[in-house]
């Protein structure tokens, strides 16, 4: 609380538009990590710095990116959604079962999107409708939705997808010369859309105001309930979209699909400079952070680091990304009080 007040004051003191380098500050952590990981990867393997391979590999991070885009909106609102990866699993399971039952894959994909939105709506009902904290509700639905996916699929893997649906990440938009994977282009398209939504629409403005001070926003006539609920629906929609994308990439569906992706997605958002307490954050930051996390993972993969250890490194980055801004703010405000004396 006091932190927020402090920053508001310092913002209003600066009346001129901030110079470019101070506007770039929120992006610094991810840029530093991106460069560090590229250097580490290049040093540890001669095969790492291969532009085509890196470009192709971006296809594997698009699902995380889609979840992160919607989570940026949710977190800017001052909420959180821990259930996105489990939602993805239910959406993927729905799609899998429908395809197995002989439904056309296009319709099954639409159904996956609808299920994603539906599960997002359930979150919204508990959080906005009943006024429960999003952290706890989505922790519960994280287990609930994952359990639902397990009940739907059991130990079975769905592999009945038609060939033309499988392998979207292998499709290159610019042909064979420069292999730009289709999912990457779709992700960047979504990123532009979300950026437009947050910076150029009333909805976006409502998000920032709701996140900085929900009561004040409510009293100034902003429909905070509708804004927050919309964000959870968007998170559900993106979970559904990520499910379709992931299924196309893997060509099969298991109940543990996307397990633990929420940690990666939240890390991406926070690393991208979005304040975990709401009120500030940009899509550009999230996009840069996605590439930073990708560089970290890829450099660890190429030096044969175990998957659990990769997750641990991401956990460390998540915590450092939250701690550093808090420490900096404290240090700044201490310096400011010293100057006042």
């Amino acid at each position: 609380m006091s932190r927020m007040v402090m920053q508001d004051v310092s913002d209003s003191v600066v009346s001129r538009p901030a110079p470019w380098f101070s506007r770039a500050v929120p992006y610094l952590p991810s840029i530093v990590i991106l460069i560090a990981a590229m250097i580490y990867g290049t040093v540890s393997s001669p095969y790492f710095l291969n532009f085509t391979a890196l470009l192709v590999n971006t296809g594997r991070y698009v699902e995380i990116g889609l979840l992160a885009l919607a989570l940026t909106v949710v977190i800017v609102n001052g909420d959180i959604d821990l259930s996105v990866a489990s939602n993805l699993a239910v959406s993927a399971a729905t799609m899998g079962l429908m395809v197995e039952g002989g439904v056309a894959v296009e319709i099954a994909a639409l159904a996956a999107l609808a299920v994603g939105v539906g599960l997002g709506a359930i979150n919204a009902i508990f959080i906005v409708g009943l006024g429960l904290p999003s952290l706890v509700v989505t922790l519960a639905t994280l287990a609930l939705y994952r359990g639902l996916a397990q009940i739907m699929l059991g130990d079975n893997a769905v592999t009945a997808y038609p060939d033309e649906f499988v392998g979207a990440d292998q499709v290159s938009v610019l042909g064979e010369a420069v292999r730009v994977p289709m999912p990457l282009v779709m992700f960047l398209g979504f990123a532009v859309l979300f950026s437009f939504l947050l910076t150029r629409t009333n909805f976006g403005l409502s998000c920032y105001l709701t996140g900085s001070n929900q009561k004040a926003a409510l009293f100034s006539g902003i429909k905070t309930d509708r804004t927050r609920a919309t964000a959870f629906l968007l998170a559900g929609l993106m979970a559904g979209a990520a499910a379709v994308m992931l299924t196309s990439r893997l060509g099969s569906t298991l109940s543990n699909v996307g397990l633990g992706l929420e940690l990666l997605a939240i890390t991406v958002v926070v690393l991208g400079g979005t304040d975990i307490f709401g009120g500030r954050g940009t899509i550009l930051g999230t996009v840069i952070a996605l590439f930073a996390v990708m560089a970290v993972r890829e450099s660890l993969v190429i030096s044969n680091v175990n998957g659990q250890v990769q997750d641990a490194v991401v956990g460390v980055i998540l915590i450092v990304a939250i701690v550093v801004p808090i420490a900096v703010t404290r240090w700044k405000s201490r310096a400011a009080t010293r100057r006042l004396r």
């Binding site: 904290p133 952290l135 994952r146």
Partner: protein, 337 residues
């Protein structure tokens, strides 16, 4: 005046709830017993008691954390890490007494808890985010220290395994440890000033701070205690399962522990919770998990059930809380002139 009445009503509700959980436990035992008599088999009941024992040690710690309006998602990973370190130390230094090994596990757990404590109490990171990060970090550390090699049953001493098999008057040591933890927690929450302060922090952190309570120190302390208890749970895990796999030990434990605590009536928004309730909640979760498997309901339902139970418990809690608040404010309005 209204405050005292409100507290009395809360206590009444807590008692009602505890009676309700006890009734559900009895119904579950009867239903599972009828559906499959093997459920009431002494061997099966013994296995329930052992898994409830481990769960209870962690649930008591989690209850204290939740009372201060925090949460610890990393308990399963802390259990795995301390079980792994203890298993390795026992393997490499077989001459060490098991009491010392248990201390090793608790110290490892306590240190892990201290990391959580620093992040939450000092840096004020929301506990759920901080411990989501450390959940991954401690699991990764378990891989690093073990080099992805499991501790095999033959590397675990017979004395260690006996903790889950023998004890006083036929009660295994594992269960006695759990009962000691429960007794200490009961004394701590009911009879000590520090215990009462945890409730004060959870019901209103700002007010507690203004009252001069050391919120940072107490929150840090609670996380260290939680870690040490997860370490003890790790030691008991080794005793019971006689093997530690880095990918497996304690995986997903956090959900069972949190469901046990919230079923037991500990308010997820902090400020209230009883040891008796947590004990009953743990027994219920233990019976449900075992019973569903024995009756033949697929294990896939268990995660769904724990999610549904947590959701149900928080909805019920917020409903009760709102009713008490409206009643209190009504009484205040009537009496104020």
């Amino acid at each position: 005046m209204s405050d005292v009445k409100g507290a009395g009503r809360l206590r009444q509700i807590a008692r009602l709830r505890e009676a309700g959980i006890a009734a559900v436990i009895i119904v579950l035992i009867v239903v599972f017993g009828v559906l499959n008599p093997r459920f009431l088999n002494p061997d099966n009941l013994g296995s329930i008691v052992l898994s409830v024992g481990i769960l209870m040690i962690l649930a008591i710690g989690q209850m204290l954390v939740i009372i201060t309006r925090n949460i610890d998602l990393s308990v399963g990973s802390v259990l795995g890490l301390s079980a792994m370190v203890m298993g390795m130390v026992g393997r490499d230094f077989p001459q060490l007494p098991i009491a010392l090994l248990i201390v090793v596990a608790m110290v490892v757990g306590g240190l892990a808890g201290a990391v959580n404590g620093v992040l939450v109490a000092l840096f004020k990171i929301p506990a759920i985010i901080a411990t989501l990060g450390t959940l991954a970090i401690f699991r990764g550390l378990t891989f690093l220290v073990s080099n992805n090699v499991q501790v095999d049953p033959e590397d675990i001493s017979v004395e260690m395994k006996n903790l889950a098999a023998r004890g006083l008057l036929g009660v295994p040591w594992l269960v006695i440890f759990a009962l000691i933890v429960v007794a200490l927690a009961w004394w701590f929450t009911k009879r000590t000033m520090t215990g009462k302060r945890l409730y004060a922090i959870g019901s209103n952190p700002d007010a507690a701070r203004m009252r001069g309570l050391n919120v940072t120190g107490l929150t840090f302390g609670v996380f260290v205690v939680m870690g040490a208890l997860a370490g003890l749970g790790g030691a008991m895990y080794v005793a019971r399962f006689a093997t530690v796999n880095p990918a497996d030990a304690g995986l997903g434990f956090e959900l069972a522990v949190i469901s046990a605590v919230v079923i037991g009536g500990t308010n997820i928004f902090g400020g209230s919770g009883t040891v008796l309730g947590t004990v009953l909640g743990t027994i219920l979760v233990g019976i449900l998990a075992n019973g569903l498997t024995v009756v033949g309901v697929s294990g896939f339902w268990q995660r769904f059930a724990s999610g549904a139970i947590i959701l149900l418990a928080i909805v019920a809690d917020s409903f009760v809380r709102k009713r008490i608040e409206t009643r209190q404010s009504r009484e205040t309005v009537v009496r104020s002139p």
